[in-house]
């Protein structure tokens, strides 16, 4: 029983210290900030790797972005030992909003079915991260799923497959304001689209799966050294996309303006204390312990 898995990833600003650069006003300096495979995208790759180790999945990783996004694909390959890498790159894709991005990803994933998987049902599971760290909308995944007709499951923290019946059982973390968090267990026939919760971690409990994981990790290293031989590039022509449907033309939304959020009204009047004044700090220590009921009157 074969299993075909696609992973959608994104090249994002590297938020780690030393690589990220902020403007004086505290906003991201995009020109100075380095890029890498997004943290949430890495989680999606881990989920795909789990499918490779446990279910022998064939993995394709895809991204839409400028040519330099191939870095993200090679990083993804090093995590999940991907069998093919797909880069959707075209000037007219630039500045797309989520709906126009989903249009490209939909066509890309449909192409994977046509080109690579002649003898089977196409892509069984698509994985994506929770959301991009820069855009932070979390909409591209569900919209791609919807356009493809795949049921979408977000915030997934665990999943298992029954390949014989082609059914997935998954757990998702539902976080709602004003309620306890809920863990929901769901069963669905394949194909599905799964967006991983940031807390997802695959676990390889059996000895044989750990051995397999080690072998695939080594394979991945070899592949990545030569990742371009796994890389396929697509533009709007090869994806048979109508230029009107992608990029800015195909985007319902625009960014109208960006402004500083005005400072809120002063809610409290702070007493300002010099951090070098030991006596004052001592008073604060007392204040904390009193309020906390550890000292004196509570």
């Amino acid at each position: 029983m074969s299993l075909n898995v696609a992973v959608i990833v994104k090249l994002e600003p590297d938020f780690s210290e030393g690589n990220i650069s902020y403007n004086a006003d505290g906003t991201l300096n995009r020109a100075e900030t380095k890029s890498k495979l997004g943290a949430h995208s890495s989680v999606a790759c881990l989920a795909a790797f789990y499918a490779k180790v446990n279910y022998g999945a064939n993995i394709s990783v895809a991204t839409m972005g400028p040519p330099m996004s191939e870095i993200a694909l090679s990083e993804a390959q090093s995590i999940c030992d991907a069998d093919s890498l797909h880069l959707y790159t075209d000037r007219i894709f630039a500045s797309a909003d989520t709906l126009a991005t989903a249009e490209v990803l939909k066509k890309g994933i449909q192409k994977m079915k046509e080109n690579e998987n002649e003898n089977n049902n196409g892509i069984d599971i698509i994985f994506s991260g929770h959301r991009a760290s820069d855009g932070e909308t979390g909409q591209t995944g569900p919209q791609t799923a919807w356009k493809l007709g795949y049921p979408f499951f977000g915030n997934v923290i665990d999943y298992h497959l029954n390949l014989k019946d082609r059914v997935v059982t998954l757990k998702r973390l539902v976080v709602l304001n004003g309620m306890d968090n809920i863990i929901e267990e769901i069963e669905s026939p394949l194909p599905v689209f799964i967006a991983l919760d940031p807390s997802y971690k695959p676990s390889f409990t059996t000895l044989s799966s750990r051995l397999k994981a080690t072998i695939f990790e080594k394979n991945a290293e070899k592949k990545v050294a030569n990742f371009k031989s796994y890389l396929k590039m697509f533009d709007h022509n090869s994806l048979e996309l109508d230029p009107k449907e992608v990029g800015l033309s195909g985007s319902p939304t625009i960014v109208y303006k960006v402004e500083r959020i005005p400072k809120g009204k002063m809610n409290r009047k702070a007493e300002i204390i010099d951090g070098r004044d030991r006596n004052q700090i001592k008073n604060i220590a007392e204040k904390i312990l009193i309020l906390n009921g550890q000292y004196g009157r509570s």
Binding site: A39, P151, N177, I186, K244, P252, T253, K257, I281, I288
Partner: protein
């Protein structure tokens, strides 16, 4: 804003007769309407009251509710500001499964029978809703994306301010570079990840003849806690409309097998003190975290973080990362709203989304080097200084007070 123009001169969009009303998608979980829904209704009411007055119109706030045995909740939604409640009551809608919910909500949004019951005048031209609100939570974020993909329009996520205006837009693609009027535009403000910038997103029809295309509804997901609900008015009158959903057989194969409360959630509510840290730990992150841990042990505090830290921005030991740099510890609109007796913000500048999470704390102490940081307006005591200098002294002084107490306790 366009001044000195008659509003009736303004075009809404390509098909200004085809879009009407504001749909508010309500989430019912285990028989409970989540608080964010009342907040959304309050804001929808405010906007549509303005809209109807401004445009001499009569468009409605329509609450859409899916679930099982939910009919009794509908009147409550009217009390909170809805003009109409459209409800679909079906055992298959007991849980909000994205696949089925998306189809039912989209059907309701396009249903002419419903429109004929609400506003017969609109029915001939009606295509889609004008505006749509969803909650920005684990249900609404995904649902908003899939519903808008189905309705083929756009949305802004995680919005905390909204206005309706008439705008003149000049855009390379939307208007082919010409300045064109757009009426009744929903200006959707979303704070960016830094919390210091507001990006205004618009969802606009393409008026450029080469790429002409309609993009309605204008939709968004709304951050819980961003808007105030109305005082419920039991005398408010409204219309209840039942919608009978149809289901695809294959969608009903998606089954919720089990639901349980997540026990791993950090229980901030049972702590009197919460100590949070932010980007200010940057010079010596690991040492500073150790100091914060010591302070929290001495005072029995739980530890929170600001949003940027959950992106693991520092290269740290994996144990520290997985313990602290996680979304579950984030205080703010993207995380938790807490109300401890004492809140200590260490190296946190105080972006608006953080403030929203801690402003109800009884007593707030900030430790920060920058007197211009917004946190200064949200704290009772502002200790100006480096945490590397302040924390050791604070810890020492606390120990000095506590240890004799402990000795006394032991003697008893």
């Amino acid at each position: 804003m366009i001044e000195n123009k008659k509003l009736s001169d303004l075009e809404d969009g390509n098909n200004s007769n085809s879009y009407h009303h504001m749909l508010v998608i309500i989430e019912v979980v285990d028989g409970v309407v989540l608080p964010v829904n009342y907040e959304m209704l309050g804001e929808a009411r405010r906007l549509m009251d303005f809209f109807n007055k401004q445009y001499n119109s009569n468009e409605k706030v329509i609450a859409v509710v899916l679930g099982q045995n939910i009919k009794d909740l509908c009147n409550e939604l009217i009390n909170y500001g809805a003009d109409v409640v459209v409800y679909a009551d079906d055992p298959n809608l007991r849980y909000m499964v994205n696949q089925t919910s998306t189809k039912v909500i989209s059907s309701i949004a396009m249903d002419k029978d419903i429109i004929s019951k609400i506003s017969p005048d609109f029915v001939n031209h009606y295509k889609k809703p004008r505006y749509m609100f969803f909650a920005a939570d684990s249900i609404g974020r995904h649902l908003s994306a899939t519903v808008l993909a189905e309705l083929d329009s756009g949305l802004a996520s995680d919005v905390n301010k909204l206005e309706i205006s008439d705008l003149e837009i000049k855009h390379q693609h939307k208007t082919k570079g010409n300045a064109l009027k757009y009426g009744k535009v929903l200006e959707m403000y979303r704070p960016d990840f830094s919390g210091f910038l507001w990006t205004t997103i618009l969802c606009l029809d393409n008026k450029n003849p080469e790429i002409r295309r309609d993009f309605h509804p204008q939709a968004c997901s709304i951050i819980p806690g961003a808007f105030a609900p109305l005082e419920p008015d039991p005398k408010r009158k409204g219309q209840l409309i039942e919608f009978t959903p149809k289901f695809d057989k294959k969608d009903l194969k998606i089954k919720v097998l089990n639901r349980s409360i997540d026990k791993d959630k950090i229980d901030f509510d049972s702590f009197k003190i919460v100590i949070s840290f932010g980007k200010g730990i940057k010079e010596f992150p690991e040492d500073n975290i150790k100091l914060i841990e010591t302070l929290s042990k001495l005072t029995g505090a739980e530890i929170g973080i600001s949003l940027p830290l959950s992106k693991k921005i520092f290269k740290l030991d994996e144990k520290i990362n997985s313990k602290y740099m996680i979304p579950g510890r984030v205080i703010g609109t993207s995380g938790r709203k807490i109300t401890p007796k004492i809140y200590i913000a260490i190296g946190i500048s105080g972006a608006i989304q953080h403030i929203e999470g801690m402003k109800e704390a009884e007593f707030v102490i900030a430790i920060n080097t920058d007197e211009n940081a917004p946190i200064i307006n949200e704290c009772d005591i502002f200790i100006k200084g480096k945490m590397e200098d302040v924390l050791p002294v604070l810890i020492e002084e606390i120990k000095r007070i506590i240890s004799p107490l402990e000795v006394q306790a032991k003697r008893k």
